[in-house]
Subunit: 284 residues, 2 copies
């Protein structure tokens, strides 16, 4: 099959490596000439160009640009495609994208591979990035069966675990387990550096160990990524943040009231339920 990849970074490049190894013919488009050369040299694509017209012969196109570029890129892209081309994207927020693209392109299905890594760019591309990772597809009522089937089959070949959900359920779920942790963790760092007692902050920095390191990791990560999550998943993230604040207040109240029995019970429930999120226990 001829498969197009628009945006040759970590995700686009890694996707190309896997698709080529399965015998597909992969056409890549990047805004930069130098990225096109590297993508071919690294074996991520068979051909690459800065001209979107290269994708006119693709049967399926994966849009793998950063979230903020998906819509503007898509609008340029469709001028080059026959109506039959199936288009999908890999953006980490789905409802706003699906809402905007669906009326413009019938053969579209939103997707989100959960395969992030710290490194980015075509040089970070690796084989089997998606193997045994969740890959969410978000078809809607108007999505043609053929578009769903074609994309599902390709994703299955990557070895990913496919989950189907509505765009809204996807965004609400990732607001809990991906976007909320970033803001929770960011607030931790911001609070610690607000300490003004001159001896305490340096001592805290010296004594910080794995507990602080893990809890603060995603809050000290890529700022652009954090802003993008907040922009594109704003309403579900705010909803999760308000629920979070309510739960935080409950912990604060229990400690203020010295209700150690109730605090113990809440921490026991946490200890029991966390493994359902980390694959150590079945989900409910």
């Amino acid at each position: 099959m001829n498969i197009g990849i628009l945006g040759l970074g970590l995700i686009g490049g890694s996707l190309g490596l896997d698709l080529r190894s399965q015998g597909h013919y992969v056409l890549g488009v990047s805004r930069r000439e130098s990225t096109c050369h590297r993508a071919v040299a690294l074996g991520c694509v068979d051909e690459a160009s800065v001209d979107m017209n290269l994708l006119a012969v693709a049967e399926v196109v994966f849009i793998c640009t950063p979230l903020a570029h998906i819509m503007p890129t898509f609008e340029q892209l469709i001028a080059h495609l026959p109506f039959t081309t199936v288009v999908t994207d890999v953006g980490s927020v789905k409802a706003p994208i699906v809402k905007e693209i669906s009326p413009l392109w019938n053969n579209f299905i939103g997707g989100h591979p959960m395969a992030g890594r710290t490194d980015s760019g075509i040089e970070a591309a690796i084989p089997n990035l998606f193997f045994q990772k969740p890959y969410v597809l978000t078809p809607v009522a108007t999505t043609p069966i053929r578009a769903i089937t074609v994309v599902e089959e390709i994703v299955r070949q990557l070895g990913a675990t496919i989950y189907n959900s509505s765009p809204e359920e996807h965004d609400r779920a990732v607001s809990w387990i991906s976007h909320l942790p970033v803001m929770v963790s960011a607030s931790l760092i911001a609070a610690c550096i607000s300490e003004t007692e001159p001896n305490v902050l340096p001592l805290a920095q010296k004594l910080a160990s794995t507990g602080f390191r893990d809890t603060s990791r995603v809050g000290g990560g890529n700022p652009e990524l954090g802003v993008m999550m907040a922009r594109y998943n704003r309403s579900y993230l705010l909803r999760s943040l308000l629920h979070y604040r309510h739960n935080l207040d409950e912990f604060i109240n229990l400690i203020e009231q010295e209700d150690w029995v109730a605090l113990q019970e809440k921490l026991e429930l946490n200890q029991q339920e966390r493994p359902r999120f980390t694959g150590q226990l079945p989900e409910l």
Copy 2:
């Protein structure tokens, strides 16, 4: 030197292994006969007993019981000791312990080795547990120089990095980097499991990845430990929690107001400052 260890768990047992390898004669006391036998068999102590009188010949005694048992244990212990014996403890909160013990025992100096591990008990004891780890000592104005010198010398032999602070500064510092992260992380789990939409929680559990795993780790840990931190460091922890809530509200407000420039700046400051806590940049 004859050194006594009261409480033969991970910390007491590991301490004994190192002290014996440096040629000290180590006397261990545990409440359980079976633990005494294991401690001798594992080479953690030279002699062990359930009778505190064994420690009468020790020049220095380390109290290595859980936090809640330090005071009651200490009160029994001193009936067996000559006034010259130097006593120290390894509790993770210092102000309440130092405040209670200092008037009762002149030769006391509080200590806190930052060398926690997930495993506990004598079977988890390992050599070099304290090597290149922070070890805080909290002498006060009335602590005799000799008591400070003796304990410092032993801690130095463990290869630990010694920090001196007041008990209060210690407790305030650990409230930020050790106790606050537990409650922040616990509130995250509690908030996520409060989701009531039937499709969303199972999907969130399936999609949760390293971001959720790291941010939720300490909040899903040992409930007794969490309660103990809150009980013994209650006022500093509450102070840190209120600062944290203030910072959380700032993030919520920026997202509500769609002030992406200010959000980006805050996340950039986090990215810049976090390495000062993780040893990748010098502290301020």
